[in-house]
């Protein structure tokens, strides 16, 4: 199939993007790397009147470091992170996860902002950004607001982003040397969407102890205080102390009723712990 006829704009700054979004008379869709939107356009699952291409907005490619955080513009690509063209403040977590996203061709174009906004529960960033405690900055006509990922993503393919807002950047906390992380995904073959993701980040100095179970039917399960799931790992202990039954029960509580699904997700989680760095 082919897309419907649409207009195309490539503004140079966020203000112009917001002005275009403000047009109530037509359906506007923002496009960054177009790695998810492209196929959806082709299948006419989305039929916009106007596509606003964000790749010409310099601000969205900007990278800033503050004392505690790294701020990545929404249009930073997976490959930028994989190749460490942007600084790594996560003890290798983000570059490692980036290198496993889909295929290189997708990573060259796909962006962190696009991935988080699309909010596919099987996507790597949705889980890993939540695990690391990242926040997103959203800008609209009345100014900017900042949300932690777990508040931004409200469901499968569903985010707290108004029609006249744009995600401008992702704020990633700098991890200390005492931080540990793990990420494991199960997928049928390299490049395919995961069918189970386990992720965790602990950093005693930043008070981080987070677990994410991803590739779920609904929004990934994000646990911001995961001491009960991580067991001794939270305190820097050995990996094998994690209790699968506790994790299994947690997932059942979250509404994952199929025992095979739970088993696959427990496995992904355990392996994330076993491979903790």
């Amino acid at each position: 199939m082919k897309p419907v006829n649409f207009d195309y704009a490539r503004p140079a700054d966020v203000g112009a993007v917001l002005a275009l979004l403000d047009d109530q008379s037509r359906a506007v869709k923002l496009m960054a790397g177009s790695q998810s939107l492209g196929p959806m356009l082709n299948m006419r699952l989305v039929q916009p009147d106007l596509i606003v291409d964000l790749t010409g907005v310099a601000e969205l490619r900007r990278v800033e470091e503050t004392a505690g955080d790294l701020v990545l513009g929404a249009c930073i690509t997976h490959a930028d992170i994989e190749d460490r063209r942007v600084p790594d403040v996560t003890r290798g977590a983000l570059p490692t996860v980036a290198s496993g996203i889909a295929y290189r061709a997708v990573r060259n174009r796909g962006t962190i902002g696009g991935s988080l906004t699309h909010a596919d529960p099987s996507a790597d960033w949705v889980s890993m950004m939540a695990a690391v405690g990242a926040r997103v900055r959203l800008r609209g006509p009345s100014g900017e607001r900042t949300l932690p990922i777990e508040q931004f993503i409200v469901g499968a393919l569903e985010v707290d982003l108004a029609a006249n807002e744009v995600l401008v950047s992702v704020v990633i906390p700098k991890l200390s040397s005492r931080a540990r992380w793990g990420y494991y995904k199960l997928c049928r073959k390299p490049g395919e969407f995961a069918h189970a993701i386990g992720a965790f980040v602990t950093d005693p100095e930043r008070g981080l102890c987070r677990v994410v179970i991803g590739a779920t039917e609904t929004r990934p399960y994000i646990v911001t205080d995961a001491r009960h799931l991580l067991g001794d790992v939270a305190a820097g202990g050995p990996a094998h102390k994690v209790d699968p039954a506790t994790v299994d029960a947690f997932m059942a509580e979250q509404g994952m009723h199929d025992p095979v699904d739970r088993q696959i997700h427990v496995t992904a989680f355990r392996r994330a712990i076993e491979q903790a760095r």
Binding site: M1, V4, V260, Q263
Partner: protein, 791 residues
């Protein structure tokens, strides 16, 4: 010179001549064809699996101009693929649906515009008034009493019942009796290039010219002429480069007929290029089988009998030309595979369901049959406590039995099946794997080894297909050979390459006999205007049939060349020989170039009585027996199964193949690699599911998973070359074999790996979920047993 000429003949791994253009992106596929004024077509398709069509509302301004519904297609006949088999029920597939739709994706209207996107805009303007009916979404459900009916006047959902019983009662007292239910998933054939058609009416030639990627252009011409009421002279079918066929380019689609009709009226060329969604969900699927099978055996592993019922999900319509029942009827005759046993009963049903038609995909029914039979052999081995290869060796047809007529009267031409198996077992090193299993793996994975063996009947001819009575029965295969005025050679054949490399291999056959260098030989195929009639490329028949025709015609050309050459050498025609492209006597020689120059350019040098056929001939070929060649292979594989995640990794893969004499061993290896990749897809990845309303659940390649380079190991391939006594040079057809054995070999390896857990898996693809479910079921059985014993 002699050595050089020899190196291009039979048995030489000549580089494929077509690869220069194909690998540089210079191939010409249907999608590359640009004609002035070309417009694109998109179809309005049924969103429902089963529904009454009350109305197709087309905006008045567009009706008959840019949008066409069934009522507009005056004089177009439906596609009907009959068989002569007793009890076969005929389906009529209207090219645009009339009263009813019977599958998602069935065509309801045709829209034409300057671009595909605009044609889709038109399609979105058409409003459908459909009344949904309950759908038949599963082949087992199709046969249940009270199931909804697809073709009401049939009274049931059965295209055909097939059955055979050979002394089954004699097996009933066997000490070992094992019954299993086995299923293979519905699949998409998924060639890289989808279907596509460009149609234009040529006023000068008074001809509908149809460019369509097809394995069988002459059969498409038959079908188009019949549906559109044209004379054969008014239809020309051109199949340019074809990006993979596998059976999918072996059927006539309603889209082809629609475009032909439109091109005859609209005054400009029209094009339809199938997209992946249409390919996956609408046009055709394959492979979906259900078996309930019982094996009877003695305690020493000797097979006493097989008793089986099977259903094949044939979809909504009988597709042209192979029909809806090729596959299920074939199950009856080929289930015994390469085994010799005394009792057999099998009954099958071709079930009509609200899904797109099934068609014969590479390996046809053999992949499902091999999976079923070989899983049963391993189940017997486990039951009697033998190694599976020992059970196979006890039951395989033996070399001294050749030629051999098996229990279903299949005629095996030659071969040493036990030797293929022994070589495969040696190459996979069974003792080393058993020792490794004893040690266990540091990562907790379970190692399994499995193997399978099959026979592939190829190039079956008139005697086989006359009984089927489908719209296409192969007869003599013809080739036209013509020496050109410069001493080169043109070969014209009605079969067509969709990746097989026949531009190279058929030239090698001619080179073997005539000594003309391969780069001076042009193979013309894929055009009804230029080639002799043929049923085309299917059934692994081209090397045997077209190769045989080229060999036969080359010998005729050799006689003609020698006739002129002997005159030029002043010798008797019996006193000359043709050696390396020269006619020679004891004292002199004359080249084919000089002979051709004389015939075409200097006829004044020829005597009055020269053979007036010149240097051109058309001649037909049939093997000595046309019941088919039997190639075969043993596959062996080592897998690692992750019992926590359900993942399966292939660690080592071995293939011992016997394709008779190999024309080009490198091309044969290519066929085996490609088949293996598809077999791995069947075994582990590919699955076209439908929900209970008949909606296909995989409409993109994100949902329909194909193996990629990281999933296909490089196999070790060993060749045996047992000649067929019936064919030119002893060649056998091998095009499909690679895709037949992998699901069985991998399935047996997985069950071997799962054996310590007491789990068995009898359904393909063997996905992580199915592996984990099998393990869970085994644990539940074990704990239930423990409880029972405790009580």
């Amino acid at each position: 010179m002699k050595g050089e000429a020899k190196s291009q003949g039979i048995g030489a791994s000549v580089l494929r001549r077509e690869d220069d253009r194909l690998l540089r992106g210079r191939g010409q596929f249907v999608g590359d064809i640009k004609l002035a004024g070309l417009k694109d077509v998109a179809f309005v398709r049924s969103p429902l699996a089963h529904a009454k069509v009350h109305a197709v509302h087309v905006p008045e301004a567009e009706r008959g101009r840019r949008i066409f519904a069934a009522a507009d297609l005056d004089g177009v006949k439906p596609i009907v693929a009959i068989t002569a088999l007793a009890g076969f029920k005929v389906s009529e597939q209207p090219v645009l649906a009339v009263d009813k739709v019977r599958q998602v994706g069935e065509l309801l209207a045709m829209c034409v515009a300057d671009t595909r996107a605009q044609a889709e805009d038109l399609a979105a303007m058409v409003e459908l008034d459909l009344e949904e009916l309950p759908a038949v979404h599963d082949m087992v459900q199709a046969l249940e009493p009270g199931a909804p009916l697809l073709h009401e006047h049939w009274g049931d959902n059965v295209f055909l019942e097939s059955a055979m019983d050979v002394n089954i009662e004699a097996a009933f007292d066997a000490p070992v009796k094992i019954t299993r239910t086995i299923r293979t998933a519905r699949q998409s054939m998924a060639p890289m290039e989808g279907r596509g058609t460009v149609a234009v009416w040529d006023h000068r030639m008074e001809q509908l010219v149809l460019y369509t990627g097809s394995q069988m252009p002459h059969i498409v011409r038959n079908g188009i002429a019949e549906c559109l009421g044209l004379q054969q002279r008014q239809v020309r079918v051109i199949s340019p480069d074809v990006g993979g066929g596998f059976g999918y380019k072996g059927i006539l689609l309603p889209e082809d007929v629609c475009l032909g009709w439109l091109a005859m009226r609209c005054g400009h060329p029209v094009r339809w290029l199938e997209d992946r969604r249409e390919a996956l969900t609408a046009s055709a699927n394959c492979r979906e089988h259900y078996y309930n099978i019982t094996a009877y055996a003695d305690r020493d592993g000797r097979l006493r009998g097989i008793d089986c019922t099977a259903i094949v999900d044939s979809g909504a319509y009988s597709s042209y030309p192979f029909s809806a029942c090729l596959e299920a009827a074939q199950v009856v005759s080929i289930l015994p595979g390469p085994y010799d046993f005394p009792s057999y009963r099998c009954k099958t049903w071709s079930a009509a369901t609200n899904k797109c038609p099934i068609l014969p995909y590479r390996g046809v029914a053999r992949t499902g049959v091999c999976y079923t039979m070989e899983l049963m052999i391993d189940a017997i081995a486990r039951e009697v406590g033998m190694e599976p290869y020992e059970v196979r060796l006890k039951n395989l047809v033996q070399p001294e039995q050749m030629p051999f007529d098996n229990i279903t009267r299949k005629h095996f031409d030659s071969g040493d099946y036990p030797e293929a198996l022994r070589r495969a077992m040696a190459a996979i090193d069974l003792p080393a794997i058993r020792a490794r299993q004893q040690r266990g793996e540091p990562d907790g994975r379970l190692i399994g080894v499995g193997h399978s063996i099959y026979c592939e009947q190829a190039a079956h001819g008139t005697s086989v297909y006359a009984g089927w009575g489908i719209p296409m029965v192969p007869g003599h295969e013809q080739a036209t050979l013509r020496v050109t005025p410069d001493g080169g050679l043109e070969i014209r054949v009605g079969v067509h390459s969709h990746g097989q490399g026949m531009e190279t291999t058929l030239a090698q056959v001619a080179n073997e006999i005539l000594g003309i260098p391969v780069d001076r030989i042009k193979v013309v195929h894929g055009d009804t205007e230029y080639t002799p009639y043929s049923t085309g490329s299917w059934g692994s028949r081209c090397a045997v049939m077209a190769g045989g025709a080229v060999a036969t015609a080359s010998r005729e050309i050799a006689k003609l060349v020698k006739g002129i050459g002997s005159h030029l050498l002043q010798a008797g025609s019996d006193d000359v020989n043709l050696v390396d492209g020269k006619v020679v006597t004891a004292t002199g020689s004359v080249s084919i170039e000089e002979i051709a120059h004389t015939w075409y350019r200097r006829p004044q040098d020829l005597p009055a009585g020269i053979d007036p056929r010149g240097l051109e001939t058309t001649i037909g070929f049939k093997p000595v027996r046309d019941s088919g060649t039997f190639s075969y292979a043993a596959h062996a594989v080592v897998v690692a199964v992750d019992p926590e995640a359900g993942d399966i990794e292939l660690l080592n893969y071995v293939i011992v193949e016997d394709g008779g004499k190999l024309i080009n061993p490198m091309v044969v290896d290519g066929q085996v690699y490609g088949g293996l990749a598809q077999g791995i897809g069947t075994a582990l990845y590919e699955e076209m599911n439908y929900d209970s309303s008949g909606q296909p659940l995989a409409s993109t390649l994100a949902d329909y998973m194909l193996p990629g380079p990281t999933e296909v190991p490089a196999p070790a391939i060993d060749h045996m070359e047992t000649l067929s006594p019936y064919t030119e040079f002893g060649v056998k057809g091998i095009g499909e074999g690679g895709a037949i054995a992998p699901p069985a070999a991998i399935g047996n390896a997985v069950n071997d790996a799962l054996r310590p857990l007491g789990a068995e898996l009898y359904q393909s693809p063997m996905t992580p979920r199915r592996v984990l479910e099998a393990i869970r079921a085994a644990r539940q059985r074990a704990s239930a047993q423990t409880v029972a014993e405790g009580v």
